[in-house]
Amino acid sequence: MSQSSPFVPATAAAMGRRSRRPPLALCLLLPALLLLGFVFLYPMLDIVLRSIAAPRGGVSLAHYGKIIAQPAYLRVFLITFEIALSVTVATLLLGYPLAYVLVTARRGIAAAIMACVLLAFFTDVLVRTYAWLVILGPEGALNQVLRALGSAPLNLLYNRYGVLLGMCYALLPYMVLTLYSVMRGIDRNLLQAARNLGASDWRAFRHVFLPLSLPGIAGGSLLVFILAIGYFITPRLLGGAGDQMIAMVIEQQVELGVDWGFASALAIVLLALTILGFLLYDRLVGLKSLFESKI
């Protein structure tokens, strides 16, 4: 082949490449596409088809009708949104000061805080949820300490408090890292300029830094909300009967073999909500920022 000849200049080699480009790209992508097609895309289509399949063949929207018609399932959606919204607000309130300090503090302090955030981020969600089970239980660490102090035990497990605590804990790193990636890009000279013009630290923060960090607030909140509406492990382990979220119902329907068609319809609705969320995210922040490696 002419390309491997030592005397062909680089441009010619590049041109030689160009002529066989489509097959090369295809060869490189084919293995990944085969895996995705077989284990991801085809099963997804299968879910879509199951969700609209009528019991005796044909197409029907009965499964979707059931979601709207039965108050119990509508309530599941309501609870899911309620929890996701509370978690979003709480992680924003907790995460904003953390991210702010990460970009403004001295290097050593910022690095130490970042290490804490990353440790929490990369520890298995199941382990982190189990930790809350151990802390919040009736005989858990918190109540043992409270009893030793002579105060009444708190009932924070198998109810909404447990779910909110556990989910805030699980999702806080996502909020902090998203805020951080936006705040890092803010030109700090602007703050200095505001101060030079007579603004106090607080005014400079409120009128310069805060508005510039808005994309981070939008992005972080959307990301946490989207992740929260699909959450399963934490609400399943820490929640009570009144904290059934969509993902839990889907898993139940599949695991108990109750109704795969209905589970599929729920999955499609959850998927649609998620895609909607990410489209919004793309408009507000740009999906690209999501896929930059944050570490």
């Binding site: 907790l94 382990v127 570490i295």
Partner: protein, 268 residues
């Protein structure tokens, strides 16, 4: 300090650092408590632990059920990582360097498993392998987890490839290497730190994955997270504090190694 000039800004600073301290305690306390309890000498979850003991680690490492789950998880995670790494590396090369039709659509498809809620991917994979009568098969679990971590590999490897100077590869071609030789002997060694950190994070996240193996497991093939899950739901067994500490140590090891790799990448 000028900052302390007005008392209002002083109290704001105090409030800020109080909030930071609280958030840090919130982030670290649960992990610290689990690790502390895993070394407890008590027979139940007593806090604070009355004394030091390795009994729960002994329980974990001597119990054949926990050990078989550990090995199964290891095998599945290695299989999933190797698959995702190979396919992801090739795909990343195409996505970063080549121009072809429907590129955006293919990019979205490759990254989609990261966006779709895991519960949905899990039931999709479950329907597939139930149809193929492969419930309980480690291969099925590894394939499912390979799909989940593929986006991670593509993202990390693409970022590294974008920073790679292609002229080095072209120089090798001018000097007589075939494009494949140039890629394998020039490009791959230079992006090796990126490939290695992709492998580390892919391994960690497939080792920790619960939902896919939960639906695909049979009583004889339970991965470590699935066994934790079943025993957490059944009863509070303090052995799980030791298993959890093991997983925390794994996360710290991966983070540490990735940090070292990043430094190596910075030097290269």
């Amino acid at each position: 300090m000028l900052r302390l000039a007005s008392s209002g800004s002083f109290w704001r600073l105090v409030a800020l650092w109080a909030a930071i301290l609280l958030s840090l305690i919130f982030l670290l306390a649960p992990i610290a408590i689990i690790v502390a309890l895993s070394f407890s000498a008590a027979r139940y979850l007593q806090f604070p632990p009355p004394g030091f003991s390795l009994q729960w680690y002994r329980e974990f490492f001597r119990n054949p059920d926990w050990m078989s789950s550990l090995w199964l998880s290891l095998r599945i995670a290695l299989g999933a990582t190797a698959t995702a790494l190979l396919l992801g590396l090739l795909a990343a090369v195409a996505l970063v360097r080549e121009r072809f039709p429907a590129k955006t659509a293919i990019y979205v498809l490759v990254l989609a498993p990261m966006i779709v809620p895991t519960i949905i991917t899990a039931i999709a994979v479950y329907f597939l392998f139930a149809r193929l009568r492969m419930i309980g098969s480690p291969i099925a679990m590894a394939l499912g987890q390979a799909v989940l971590v593929l986006p991670l590999v593509v993202i990390i490897v693409s970022a590294t490839l974008q920073g790679f100077d292609r002229r080095l590869e072209q120089a090798a071609i001018i000097l007589g290497a075939s494009p494949l030789q140039a890629f394998l002997r020039v490009t791959v060694p230079m992006i090796a730190p990126g490939i290695a950190s992709a492998a580390l994070f892919a391994f960690l996240s497939s080792f920790d994955e619960l939902l896919i193996p939960l639906l695909l497991s049979s009583p004889t093939t339970m991965t470590l997270p699935v066994r934790i899950w079943t025993s957490v739901i059944m009863q509070i067994d303090p052995t799980i504090t030791a298993v959890s500490s093991f997983l925390i140590a794994l996360a710290i090891a991966v983070l540490g190694a990735a940090g070292l790799l990043r430094r190596a990448r910075g030097r290269a």
